[in-house]
Amino acid sequence: MINAVGRDIPEEILEITGKEPFQGNFYKDDKSTVMRGPTIRPVMNNQKSKLVANIREALIKCEAHDGMTVSFHHHFRDGDLIVNMVMKEIHDMGFRNITICATSLGKAHDPLVPMIEDGTITGIESSGVRGKIGEAISQGKLKGLAVMRSHGGRVRALATGEAHVDIAFIGAPTADDYGNLRGIGGKADCGVLSYAIVDGNHADHCVAITDCLVPYPNFPAHISQTKVDYVCVVDEIGVPSKIASGAAKPTTDQRKLLMAQYCTDVVVNTPWFKDGFSYQTGVGGASIASTQYLAEIMRERNIHMGFGVGGLTKAMCQLLDDGMARVMLDVQDFDLDAVHNLKNVNHHRIPAGVYANPLNKGAVVNKLDYVVLASLEVDVHFNCNVVVGSDGMITGAQGGHPDTAQGAKCAIVICPLLQGRIPAICTDVTTVTTPGESIDVVVTDYGVAVNPARQDILQALKEADCVPLKTIEELRDIAYSIVGEPEKVEFEDRIVGIIEARDGTIMDVVRQIKDIEQPTVYRRKTAKRKAGGTAASRSSRAK
């Protein structure tokens, strides 16, 4: 069945998953929806200790079994040690058919690949996957379907019971012996536990893992003792240098600086740039540079940001410290400056559900004026792809991309026209992760394209005459004129993953990648060439 972004979602997938094809951004707006709570075992006995000696004991006490779903958060980013630690124990105990429901998975989790190959792990639900797990899924090694959900979509799936977690393992920088967890302090300081809060609320069992046990009560708790079954103390839950490093050095890449300038020009020349405006941006070089350009103009015109939100960086926190922003709402910290900035009384932690869940009574993203995003590919329908590489390999994560793009009044995607030889602006994205109806402006180093659905923005930018305006087709044509039109990547028929839209409908499917012989070899005998001429041999070239 063809969905609202023109992707064919096979009937068998709709049957297996029980999901509907994507029907447009506001399909479930105002529709009655039932939420589901977990099945818990209350702790009434005041003699009971929640401390367990090790992960194995926690698994036994939480009734670990074949076919269960375990969950994890990714606040420790590439420094995470929890996922591998827990999965090793599950593997050693011989459990099979495990589904991992993670907020994201990255290169740190490459050691899971053998567990995918041997059938320990048969399901993966995540914002996305980078590194070797992505390759393994694309190569068809995962027995079940990989489900990619946005940060808001994951909260929705757990809250509605579409996804059910048997045991949540929550890495906590600090914890007390009764399960009050904080994201700040300790050795693996990540600032916040925003993505894990829904796991506390909806998983049947909840195990806290910490390397810094503190005296009771560890208050104010980010995840409460009322949600936590067991507390396990281990030597190390994360590698601090890979969790949050110093702020990224400002970029000197002229191409990125140019795009940053265009992006800032778009922001300051559209109607929402006025005192009290709201803003979210990312960690890329161009995003950070554009935040700095923006700060200069805010100072000049005495315009203050009402609130900033998101995964936060030094550049955003600086606005708060300088009094240029009133409030920061924090779901993740990308550098140590952002972690330390949590001391600022106007820097607030928010749960992922408050940030982006589409099926609550209004998430923070709905109040965004601007969001600045990146994308692997954008097509002429303004659809974005942030999960599957142009070569067909799963290599990225949705994160909050679809959530913020839908929520913001003006969603800007910064994307260099070319990534090496790969055109980022193309006719059809490999896989749709964010629908074109959510994307308003595309900023490239060769010009800026506005979604024709947003004549208001186009008009404002024309009047301001601030950036070189192009149509999205023009941008694609420039790209293709430089690098040539790419061949369509070939896939097998087997579907290895689905891209879930925010509301739980299916945006697109990901197919198994076709094996390709590398190197590609061409042979030609001299004699044949003399006799046959080039035209005939050309058709048999390069398999």
Binding site: T520, V521, A542
Partner: protein
């Protein structure tokens, strides 16, 4: 153009390619390894073979390790490697086969 010795041109930097040409007895053999093989593999082979034809290289073993080079880069690297391998460096036919 007769390939006399093994020669290399190019680098393994992003957006470049490294072309190695070796002498061979019978015919042309071309190996391609590319970061963008799924999207541009056929095109790269085409460009490389066109260039070799233009230079009239009939007997050689050619290997290309491509890191996303544009057509013009591939052409230039193949030409350069062939010139070196044929010891033509001092007498390149600018405006002739090298356009």
């Amino acid at each position: 153009m007769e390939i006399i010795k093994t020669a290399v041109a190019g680098t393994l930097e992003s957006s470049d390619c490294m072309v190695t040409i070796e002498p061979a007895q019978k015919g042309l053999e071309l190996d391609l390894e590319s970061a963008v093989i799924r999207q541009y593999g056929k095109r790269i082979m085409e460009v490389a073979l066109e260039t070799l034809d233009r230079l009239d290289v009939q007997n050689a073993r050619v290997s290309i390790v491509d890191k996303g080079a544009l057509d013009c880069t591939i052409k230039a690297r193949v030409e350069c490697a062939a010139m070196r391998a044929a010891e033509h460096e001092g007498r390149i036919s600018w405006g002739g086969v090298i356009r």
